[in-house]
Symmetry: C2
Subunit: 455 residues, 2 copies
């Protein structure tokens, strides 16, 4: 074994030890999970319905990172039960198991709450014969659990933990629509596919997306995604569908970095120190760009609704600023519980009064006469004159600065997410240039990441 | 005949009367031309060479505009005479005919001078059997003359004069490389082709370029030009080759205007009043653009060399300013005997310090690692970071303003005409924004046309 491999293995061993829960943590988790399962079974019996309790998720599969405190209990009802009944029973069981819990909503309503220091989800689902017959996405989860339980031994579970820690450090872990990263299930399938963390990293360093893996060799569809891992329990589904091209690239970039120079620091978060107002102003001054931020009250929707709407709104704003000649360099969206921000950093701060508008070739008579007639007597237009055989006019430009555009009602002409639009209608601020400093401290972390981007 | 046609004919009659030389002017021209021909014949006899004298050009064909005072004499030598001899004899005859004249150079040297109030060119050429056998372009001219002399009667000559006056008013008359308009010969052929001015105007109003005419139906080639008129004396040649798309479009535009509202003013120059320094500053302020002018000493070459070099240099400068993100709106070149100017009106006055530079997808490993390695340790670069699966860096921008670019040696990296380049090497000024006022009064006319463009 080479020195380099030794170094790699030493780093992985150290990380492994750090992220593996110790015996005490395991024992405590097992005891709380058993207690919760018993409480759920008692509730089912009380109601007198035919249902069983399945533990799912990383704590059920032994792949959780030390310190994580999530327990997921699924209450599995017969598949001939009506949806209304399932929802009602599900909430009954949930509130019995978690008396202090509250209702949340994914595909069904379910109960979420704290229990003895653990974050617990108690979710109703249907007991179907195969993943192909599911009635909603949550029905699939027990199949994932069963598939992995059969195949992940302790050694592989350790490799999964190391891989999760690696992706988490890079900011690429989590399939929520804010992160668009690797889900726990996806990491587990990749470790199974390659047989270990090192093997995954060596392969990822060499991927030339799109790449496709199909552990059960039963995939039936094509996908446009950079990474495709066909779900072993559902030939129709790409487990990596939510994983963005950027996060696939991050895994590749850091895999190469880790192979080239194995070090534990690559398993620790790479975030820069938050920026304060002065730091933001200095960053803006240094770059001499024209960053424009639209800040508004965060719409009251769950994150998996919020972030796609922010993304859509940001793309709309960025495209419109590009069309209007302000040449966006980069953009970002941030949100806390209070405020959301669409930030577009423009490469042009100001445009002339006039805007060139090319007309038809003079030789295309009907079209040319129409164009000439339209602009000839317009006092706000220079021209029409002829350039290279075409009519050209210069019209007055509607907005000379990105700020003027954002402050106008034209902002609502942009394709916005519906809840973003209603929030903007209730009012918003436009910050630009050095006044961007006012976004700190609320968005100090996000601005630090924006202004000191790491791969 | 409709009222509209009446109005058109009345306008044409009035213009015709204005531009037709009266009997006195004709008589005087004939007497001076006869005297010059006699002087040339005497010189030929003195030298003892076999040559004849041919009058060519509009005054020979009766198509000159009243007040024009150009007489062109061609001295036609046998085609077995050596080039050296032809040039020597040509100059001898020329200096005999025009004792006060000076030498100029087109394809051969020739003598140009004033005689009794007329501008006279005395040009040597070869007497060949057909235009296909010419040794240089001037040998073709007598064939043009002979072709037209056979076909243009007084009535058609009158139509030619009206057409020339119309094109002159529009700024589209003259095949020199400054104007790139319609040559006299081209106008004569078009009038022959259509049979009159009104017929030309009615046809031109409807042209959808490219359009092609071939009076002798003997053309052998295809051309990329908007207007093609195959030379009746040379099947290989497009008489309209030098005519720009813009000038063809001008003829079309004003033909429509004349048909829609016949008026004599369309036969008078459309130039606006010259701008003074204050007028230039006001125009710049109103448009709020960033016009940048490079002013230098006019290279000492003839106009037909100067303007193509200015055009090439201007295109090079404009393209480079576009590549550097300054979004040129329009541009122009002007020259007097003293100064030449390249003017590019930019739509962006200032750019940020940083400039985005997209790298390869992270998945293309060799290329991606090369890019990352190149920029990773560069302290002047932001990034590399990952966006949509690719590496991106932001580099320091070389020039933040169009002025900074023009003032730097990078200006010499632009494709410049050779004499423009040598003149710039001897020094130049850069004027921008309101300091453009300093171009008046020298370029007051040109700036007025630039800032108040007419079709």
């Amino acid at each position: 074994m080479s020195d380099e491999q030794d170094a790699f293995d030493a780093v992985v061993r150290a990380v492994h030890d750090r992220v593996t829960p110790d015996a005490e943590e395991r024992a405590r988790l097992e005891s709380v999970a058993a207690e919760l399962t018993a409480r759920a079974e008692a509730a089912v019996e009380d109601i007198g319905v035919d249902a069983d309790i399945v533990r799912v998720g990383s704590t059920a599969r032994g792949t959780w990172l030390a310190g994580d405190r999530d327990i997921d209990l699924f209450v599995r009802f017969p598949d001939d039960l009506s949806r209304e009944r399932l929802e009602a029973y599900g909430l009954q069981v949930g509130s019995h198991v978690l008396p202090e819990g509250h209702e949340e909503y994914a595909e069904h309503p379910y109960v979420k709450g704290e229990y003895d220091g653990f974050d617990v989800d108690c979710v109703p689902c249907y007991d179907v014969d195969s993943a192909a017959e599911i009635q909603s996405a949550v029905d699939r989860t027990p199949f994932h659990n069963a598939y992995l339980a059969e195949r992940l031994d302790d050694a592989l579970a350790g490799e999964v933990r190391v891989a999760k820690a690696f992706l988490k450090a890079v900011g690429a872990y989590g399939s929520n629509l804010r992160t668009k990263g690797f889900s726990g299930y996806l990491v587990e399938l990749l470790i199974l596919e390659f047989g270990g963390f090192r093997e995954l990293v060596e392969s990822a360093a060499d991927w030339n997306p799109p790449v496709r893996f199909d552990p059960e060799d039963h995939g039936t569809r094509e996908y446009g995604d950079d990474l495709v891992v066909v779900d072993p329990t559902d030939p129709e589904r790409n487990v990596a569908a939510a994983c963005s091209a950027t996060n696939v690239a991050r895994l590749q970039h850091y895999s190469r970095a880790l192979l080239a120079g194995p070090r534990e620091s690559l398993f620790e978060p790479h975030d820069p120190a938050p920026l304060d107002a002065a730091g933001v102003r200095e960053a803006v001054r240094e770059r001499a760009t024209e960053p424009v931020a639209v800040r508004f009250e965060t719409p009251d929707v769950v994150e998996d609704q919020l972030y796609p709407q922010l993304d859509k709104s940001l793309a709309g704003l960025r495209d419109e600023l590009a069309r209007r000649g302000f040449d966006p360099l980069r953009s970002a969206r941030f949100a806390t519980d209070e405020h959301a921000v669409l930030l577009v950093e423009c490469g042009v701060a100001e445009r002339p009064h006039v805007q060139r508008h090319d007309g038809p070739p003079v030789g295309v008579r009907a079209h040319a006469e129409g164009f000439y007639g339209k602009y000839d007597d317009d006092p706000d237009v220079y021209g029409p004159y002829i350039e290279d055989g075409r009519y050209v006019v210069e019209r007055e430009r509607e907005f000379r600065t990105p700020v003027a555009f954002c402050e106008s009602d034209a902002l609502f002409g942009v394709a916005l997410g519906p809840h973003v639009e209603s929030s903007l209608e209730r009012g918003y601020d436009v910050l630009a240039g050095e006044t961007l400093g006012a976004l700190a401290p609320e968005f100090g972390d996000e601005l630090a990441r924006y202004f000191a981007p790491v791969p």
